[in-house]
Each structure stands twice: as structure tokens, then as C-alpha cells.
Symmetry: C3
Subunit: 245 residues, 3 copies
């Protein structure tokens, strides 16, 4: 395989976001895309990432292959990308080879690793609530909750999404109403609760896409989709927090 990218920001941001959830990752490289499906070590969150061949200047993949790599290593190299660099990715001599080319040619060879973990499958989920909103609005709401509690409740009521949190003494509520930029599709009023620690990692997806699709259900996983058309898709699935209050 040999892949070349001129616009490096998206892949750099992607790896940085994913590395907050998983440190070792197995990418599946096919003729159409590079794909990652990974579970965080605590089995609470899943990330599904697909970088499309159309995001590349050169995308030469003769046959499907799997590449496992340490994401912190990769992130360190990607941090060294300069705006004027063109990046080439190859597997050569049992290493993952990254070449950054501007006036100088810079080459980094990282080890390929073995990932013991079994292949992950994307669960088959069905949601009752779906919200499409500017990703910054959802990110801000989650960050608002971060000053109050450790979990966030999402409550859909007709055409309004409430992002809420409560501690023993304080509480907060961000009201997001359907409108020109915000689409809300929901049946009955429903509520679900999620870990704010994970949500804070996932809302970094706002770096990749201006818009986020939020789907959830009562006491059921949450799915967040960040999509950059013709380039990439980053999906997060987060297990609910179920409690008896």
C-alpha cells in the first residue's frame, strides 16, 4: 500500500481524538477506505472511524490488509507535520513508514504491533431520538455540564433537547430547541444518562465536522456521528449509565 495526503489536518486531528479512547489500534485498509473499529479498555465506549480513499491524493491499495499501530507513537509523528508538508503512508520492511515532504524529506518508521484483542463488531442499535445540530452547540453544552456533575442526562421532549446534570447541591440545564440549524426527531419524552468523562473525549469530533448527529434511547447507548463528506466519518457509541433515581 502507498497512500498520499496533501490535506493532513483531518487525519492528524482524527488520530489525536481516537488516541484519547484507545492507545493501540488495528486499522483495516481496503480499496475504498481505512477503517478502525475499537473498544476503549473499560468496554464503555466504541469508536468507529472511516477515512475514505477520496480524502487522499494517492490511494494505492492492491489488497486488503490490517495494520496495528500504537496511536501515541503515531500522534507524536503527526504533531510534527508542517502545513506545507505532503504526507505519504506505507508499510515497508515490517514498519509503518511515514514520509513528510516539503523542502526537506522527513521519514519516520514506527513498529507494527500485535493487537491481541478480538475483532470488534459494530452493534446493531435502534434509536428513538435523533438530533442533528451544529457540533459546537453540543460541545458547549457538555462542557457546561462538566462544572456540575460526573454524568449528563439527555432529555428529549417534543421539539426540545435538554442537556442536564446535577450534583448533590447544584444542577444545570441547557435547552436546545429545534430550529433552522437544529433538527429534532423524537417520539415520546425520554431520558438517558451518560458519563461526562467519555463525552468530553467524544465531542472533540467537532474538530472534524461542523455538524453532529446525536442518537439515543431510554437507558440505552448513545451514538454520535461526525461526518466530513467524501472524507471521513467518526462514530462514537457510549454505554448508558443506569441508576435508580
Amino acid at each position: 500500500m502507498k497512500l498520499a495526503l496533501a490535506e493532513t489536518k483531518l487525519i492528524r486531528d482524527s488520530i489525536s481524538i481516537i488516541s484519547d479512547l484507545v492507545t493501540e489500534a488495528r486499522f483495516k485498509v481496503t480499496k475504498n477506505s481505512i477503517e478502525l473499529i475499537a473498544m476503549d479498555p473499560a468496554n464503555v465506549a466504541m469508536v468507529i472511524y472511516r477515512l475514505l480513499s477520496s480524502a487522499f491524493v494517492t490511494y494505492d491499495v492492491k489488497e486488503d490488509m490490517t495494520i496495528a499501530i500504537n496511536l501515541n507513537d503515531l500522534k507524536s509523528v503527526f504533531r510534527r507535520i508542517k502545513p506545507e508538508d505532503t504526507m505519504t503512508l506505507e508499510v515497508a520492511d515490517g514498519k509503518f513508514k511515514i514520509t513528510l515532504k516539503s523542502a526537506q524529506t522527513r521519514t519516520f518508521n514506527l513498529p507494527l504491533i500485535d493487537v491481541e484483542e478480538k475483532e470488534q463488531r459494530v452493534p446493531d442499535l435502534s434509536f428513538s431520538a435523533k438530533v442533528t445540530a451544529p457540533s459546537s452547540i453540543f460541545s458547549d453544552a457538555i462542557e457546561d455540564m462538566d462544572i456540575i456533575g460526573e454524568s449528563v442526562s439527555l432529555v428529549i421532549d417534543k421539539k426540545t433537547l435538554h442537556v442536564m446534570s446535577a450534583s448533590e447541591v447544584s444542577n444545570a440545564d441547557v435547552e436546545i430547541k429545534a430550529g433552522a440549524e437544529i433538527k429534532i426527531e423524537a417520539g415520546d419524552k425520554l431520558k438517558a444518562k451518560y458519563s461526562i468523562e467519555y463525552l468530553k473525549k467524544m465531542i472533540q469530533g467537532a474538530k472534524l465536522a461542523d455538524s453532529v448527529v446525536i442518537q439515543f434511547n431510554k437507558d440505552y447507548p448513545l451514538q454520535l456521528d461526525y461526518i466530513a463528506v467524501d472524507k471521513l466519518q467518526m462514530t462514537f457509541i457510549l454505554a448508558p449509565r443506569v441508576d435508580n433515581d
Copy 2:
């Protein structure tokens, strides 16, 4: 009570500054202003803060009341203010309710607390030296001293204020002369010494006002006044450091 503000920067900065000196604060809300008089836990410094009703878009106070609140909690919420937000402050259901309104409506409810401490009275002070100067000049002088010692000496001699500090081996002196922007009123030459640690907190008042009034006396408290006309006044009183050198 129900208070609304469009220009939120001043109150946000005020709370941030006060919270460096006291963490729990009792505000007195009257028809004309919100007032705070508080002593730091070490009884070395006092802050007197008055936010005038004219700083508000809506100022609806039926009767005088006292509100005690944790300033770190308040600061966390105020940090979430966006420039386009209008802020409303209310007491509702035994909570302090902060509403931030732009495209979304965001509500934060913080607990009201009990402050054991007795009500503070502003001491009756009389000063021999008075300097009015751009607040940045005084802040810079204090920060200059911070690289030398733990205390700052203020020395007034005719039309010159010296801000000085000395360690066993080093010393520094900033000479501030009366002029177009700087007024100095003093009798005989006099000197007083104050803790730099406290002064560094107090000079943050420069965020609120372009000008500071500095008043002191020999071996006597220092008073700093930061005034934003028709909006707010922040006064600090700092006990002197008396030594035998």
C-alpha cells in the same frame, strides 16, 4: 430579586479577583447595589466590592436581602459565559439561579450557603499619602518587585512614589513621578511595607479600571480603589508589615 446583565465581563472578572482572597462570600443586595465586605481567612486583607444597579439592564430588587455563595462555584459558571450571552441572576427555590441566554438557554442552580462569620465593618482610616495612577503602572511595579523579595515598600517623597523591594542580596526600585497621568498628594516623606503575595492578588483590579487610587501611611494599612464609574467599585485594604529594620 431578578437582575439582568448584558455586559458580563466586569462581574465575571470581579468574582474571579475576589475569589483569590475569599472563597465564601455574603453579598448584600439592596435597591441600589450589590455589596460585599469580606476579610481574607488570615485577617490580613479586606475587599469591599460594590456593583451598582446602573450596571444592570434589569435590576428588580423588592427588598434588601443577603445571599451567601461559594465563589469558586460562581467562578466556574461565569467562565462558561459566552460574549453573546445575556445573564440573569435570581434566587429561586432556595438556590442561586444563573441563566445565560443566547440562541440556547442555559440554566445553572447553585446552592446558597451559610456563612458563620460575623458581618464585617469597613474600618475608618485616614491616610497621609494619596496617589492616583494608571492601574497598569502600579501593577507593573508590583510585578517588578516580585522577582526580588516577599514584601514591597512604598515610599513617598514629595512628588515621587517609590515602589521598592529588597532581599539579602538584591534590590529594586520603581520611581513613579507626578505628571499628566499621575497625581501625588503627600506631606512629609513616609514609608510603609506590605506583603507582595497579597498585592499580587489585589492588582488584578486593573482588569476592572484603568486607574487606581493608592492610599497609605507610615506603618499603617494600604487602601487600593479600582473604580468603573456608574458600574462598580472594588476597594482593597491591606494590613502593613511592620519590622524593625
Copy 3:
């Protein structure tokens, strides 16, 4: 002696860079320049610094003298320089006196110290490889290596300089080719290895000069020269890392 500077950035940056290698320094002040020759405490690196009299507005030195001073103290004072300040340096009353003058006059007196260490002599070195390059290119290359290993190998091969590093599992290579901006003079292919920890301190010289002269030899010291014409010169000499691989 009495020296005055209007352009303070170069001397401020110089002292900051030198203080990363040595904390106490003995400057030799002559009619033409201020000179420092110092060894780092581990005896691995030497810095040779010369600030020319032509960099000063006033340069009044009646007779040669030696001034020893703590560089961290000096750095603290230099950090307080404002862009509009003119700086005067004097020795007065057994102190090193720094005066910063803009609307206010600010004076700092630092202790002169005794440096036990014997006077350093610049070693007489002869190099087989010499590269002149934009200082940012060399700095970037060293920082690239910092994500891989603890040492950097410099390899010259005809008209190409390779900056390389390897760990047990990863490796990297920056290829710098001779061209319009880059001059390479070398005989046979040769290789030398240096500590990245020291190199990271030395490449800060890029703040002083747009260009760097890199000279080295097989298993032999490295010399880096950063020169601001008519103002200053900063030279670093770094012992090689010799190993048996």
C-alpha cells in the same frame, strides 16, 4: 563601565538560552565586546558568547573587567523588560545595576558573585564537515528526532546531511540537501552522534540568527555558530556520544 541598549530582545534571548546550560557565568568586558566562555556542569557542552560593542547605543568601558553573575537572577530581571524600555547596565557599589527607562525609571541591583571555576579556554578544533543552513531547518530536524530517541546522528554523504535517530523499535531521518539556502562542504561520508538533550538547548540559538553553521567530524565534537552580524555571536561546542554499534 556604563552600557546602554535600545534593542533589548537579543540580549534577553541570549541570557535565556545560556542559562539553560550554565547558571553562574563570568563575563569579560573589554573595549570591544562582552564575552563569555563557559562549560556546562557536566563538562559535555561549552558556550562561547560575544556581544559586540556595536550592539549598544552607549558603550563606555574604561578598562577590561570581569563580572560574574547568576544568570537566573539576570533572566528574571530581563523578563521584566518592556518593548519601549531603554536598558542601562553598570557596576555600582559592588552590585550589577540594571536600569530600565521608559515613562518610569526602574532599577534592579543584583549581587556580583565569585565563580570558583577556572577560566575556560576555547578548544582548537578542526572539522571535516561544514553545513550552513537556515536555523529553523536544523531546529525542526532536531525536534523531529526528539520523538524517537535520546541521541541524534549526523551523517554527511556528499551533498546531503542526514539528521537521524533510532530507538529499539522506531527510527527517523531528515534529509537536508545542498541548495540555494543550504551549503554543504564535506569530504568522505562521515557520521557522528550527539545528545538530543543538549541539542534541544542549543537550537534555541535560532532566536538570535536566521542561519546556523554546523561543523562536526567522526566521533568528534560538534560546533554550532549562530551569528547576528555586528551584534553578537553564540557558539556551542558539544562532545560526541561514542558507542560501539
